[in-house]
């Protein structure tokens, strides 16, 4: 009788190749996702050492980080961005890797495109030189971000020497009220356990509130696991997962589908599986949240006030809060709904999927963006954009005063033309509110698509429940 295992234990055991000569556990990687920013030095390393990319058929690439979301016919204004896109095209050609390039209608953000294509399936191991690879855990995969040296390692060996993550369970109880999304659930978790509360762990999301989520929302939740310090998040696959996958381009079909589903059904944590950490969050009392500071953990209910650093007993935390408020240009005790914004960004690997756009459109329908607000809607992929247009969502966005853009990472991270200016303030559906993340001196408030849309209309951070 074997000891009860978690999902991660099961995936781990199935992918353990053995030990390398140093005695390190080697984990086989089922899918290596790539983009233009963290791969070129890996390809260079391969060339310099005379090695070949081992499994082009288990590799897949897109251009997403540096690509402009309008005026994208080349050459781009940013010559370096152009060169990076070219380098990826050349590297993929030479190594026979499939790339959804600039002119491909399926191009988009890697963490949106890969699941959409059915490349992410339960039980797989998936890596990418990008911390938000944790997104794919939504399908019951062990998926984690890696550095460029590790990217090169996977290119050359299709394995990684890996230390098994510690197990952590985050149970989301109850049913959240209207206007509360998985983005709010994620922020609440980070606020509860801290931005390094999941360090060294893989977080398994459990509970009714998680089971009730659709795949897009589960992806948002797992996407944000890294913001709690966990390299991966995971949700047990179920009917919702299988339904999403069926008939996707790279999903199994025919007899293979039945075989796969049979194996996928086994991917639940056994009764009695032991977790080193366990956290319970009751979602029934949860409100829409917004960050007020410069870490994703510095957040509060949108209906609440900015906390006072002087109430914080720990000196280092107090200093950190003061620094954050100074950077953000905010005062303790101020109601969040009084915070005036300049820009709204709806998109990114966190909230750039069709369901996110539908949520925002629900709020925006028949309303207008406040006069002083610049508002960007950036679909996560070409196919998300196409679907949204089919549903007429683009018209709702445009009539409200939003710019309707081409897919890419856009304003999430200030390495393409979509940046905020110094001192400008955004309500953003992205994942990080670090200093300068959306542009030098830019100030970011992380929110859900509902809250972003409501804030666009109000011109200030706004409670979306008044608009639903």
């Amino acid at each position: 009788m074997t000891a009860p295992r978690t999902i991660v234990d099961k995936i781990w055991d199935a992918h353990l190749v053995g030990k390398d000569p140093l005695g390190r556990d080697l984990l086989y990687i089922d899918m290596h996702l790539m983009h233009e920013v963290t791969s070129p030095q890996g390809f260079d390393g391969l060339r310099l050492s005379g090695r070949r990319l081992r499994r082009p058929d288990l590799s897949f690439a897109v251009i997403d980080h540096v690509i402009p979301t309008c005026d994208r016919k080349g050459p781009w204004k940013d010559e370096m961005a152009d060169r990076m896109a070219e380098a990826l095209e050349k590297n993929c050609r030479e190594s026979r890797i499939t790339l959804f390039g600039i002119d491909d209608e399926r191009q988009g953000v890697i963490h949106v495109v890969a699941p959409e294509q059915g490349l992410v399936q339960p039980g797989m191991t998936i890596v990418c030189g990008d911390s938000h690879t944790s997104t794919h855990g939504a399908f019951g995969t062990l998926a984690f971000g890696i550095g460029t040296s590790e990217v090169e390692h996977v290119m050359a060996t299709q394995t990684l020497p890996w230390k098994k993550p510690k197990s952590m369970a985050v149970e989301m109880k109850g049913r959240p009220s209207r206007g509360v999304t998985s983005k709010d659930m994620a922020l609440e978790m980070i606020r509860t356990i801290g931005v390094n509360g999941g360090a060294g762990c893989s977080i398994e999301f459990q509970g009714k509130a998680v089971k009730d989520l659709g795949m897009e929302s589960r992806m948002t939740l797992c996407n944000m696991a890294i913001e709690a310090g966990a390299r991966s998040g995971i949700v047990a696959p179920d009917k919702t997962t299988f339904k999403y996958l069926k008939k996707r381009t790279f999903a199994p079909s025919g007899a293979d589908w039945d075989k796969a589903v049979k194996a996928w059904r086994e991917l639940v944590s056994d009764t009695g599986a032991v977790y080193e950490k366990r956290v319970v969050i009751d979602t029934r009392s949860l409100e829409p949240l917004a960050t007020w500071g410069t870490t994703p953990g510095q957040c509060a209910a949108i209906s609440g006030k900015i906390p006072d650093p002087d109430d914080e007993p720990d000196a280092r935390n107090r200093a950190q809060m003061k620094r954050a408020l100074e950077y953000m240009g905010l005062k303790a005790g101020m109601p969040l709904e009084d915070v005036k914004i300049d820009c709204v960004f709806i998109g990114s690997c966190t909230n750039g999927r069709i369901e996110d756009l539908r949520c925002a459109a629900r709020v925006l329908k028949g309303r207008r963006v406040a006069g002083h607000v610049r508002a960007l809607a950036v679909p996560g992929s070409g196919l998300v954009k196409k679907q949204a247009e089919k549903e007429g969502l683009d018209e709702i966005f445009k009539e409200a005063g939003f710019e309707w853009r081409e897919p890419g990472c856009s304003m999430c991270l200030a390495m393409n033309p979509d940046v905020l200016g110094p001192g400008e303030r955004s309500a953003s559906t992205s994942n990080r509110n670090f200093e300068g993340r959306q542009g030098r001196g830019a100030r970011t408030h992380l929110v859900s698509p509902y809250t972003a849309a409501a804030s666009a209309i109000s011109g200030r951070l706004a409670d979306p429940r008044e608009y639903l």
Partner: protein, 199 residues
């Protein structure tokens, strides 16, 4: 094969801020490069605009050790952050905790990331704030940090594989390729329904 890392001796820069993220260490704008080198000039770029920022203090110039606070290197997976810090001449970072990806990236670049209890980190930060000229001797083989001249020695733990790789300057890919037969054997038994992207 990289240069083995055995003993690191020198001054230590006390960077006393928690949750230092990789966007601070290496702003995204500077990731628009195809090389691994030349990132040092951009490390902590925005904070370095403040003349009082610790890295602008000449007394710490050339120090090989960075004393950091909890959750150092959180955020993005960009190895460019580790490349930038390495470019500054840092060989060892000591902190109460590190973000997982950053820790791995440090190791990949021949830098030793040491976790010490917060109280010990606080003692070190205080010592090197007050006495910038003070030195530390970090001995990886013995897993000890000597507070030079103070008669104090701290022990630290390190993952044995990381230690092996750093001490001997091993190329991790070469090591793994030593297990090629196991990799091939695994590939033969992978389920047929797993996705393959055929070109």
């Amino acid at each position: 094969m990289r240069e083995p890392l055995k003993i690191i001796t020198g001054r230590a820069i006390p960077l006393d801020r928690p949750d230092v993220d990789t966007d601070q260490i290496m702003p995204a704008l500077h990731l628009l490069r195809l090389e691994r080198s030349g990132f040092g000039q951009y490390a902590f770029e925005l904070w370095r605009k403040d003349p009082d920022f610790i890295l602008n203090d000449e007394r710490y110039a050339g120090a090989p050790i960075l004393l950091a606070s909890r959750n150092f290197g959180c955020g993005s997976s960009r190895e460019h952050a580790a490349w930038g810090i390495h470019d500054l001449g840092i060989k060892c970072i000591i902190a109460p905790s590190f973000a997982d990806i950053f820790r791995a990236n440090a190791g990949s670049n021949g830098m030793l990331a040491i976790d010490l209890p917060e109280e010990q980190c606080d003692i070190l930060i205080k010592r090197h704030k007050e006495r910038p000229e003070a030195e530390l001797v970090v001995d990886l083989e013995k897993q000890k940090i000597n507070l030079s001249g103070d008669g104090v020695e701290l022990e630290f733990s390190v993952d044995p594989f990381t230690k092996d790789c750093l001490l001997n300057g091993l190329d991790s890919i070469d090591v793994t390729l030593g297990a090629l037969p196991s990799i091939e054997a695994h590939e033969k038994k992978r389920p047929g329904y797993l996705p393959r992207v055929k070109k």
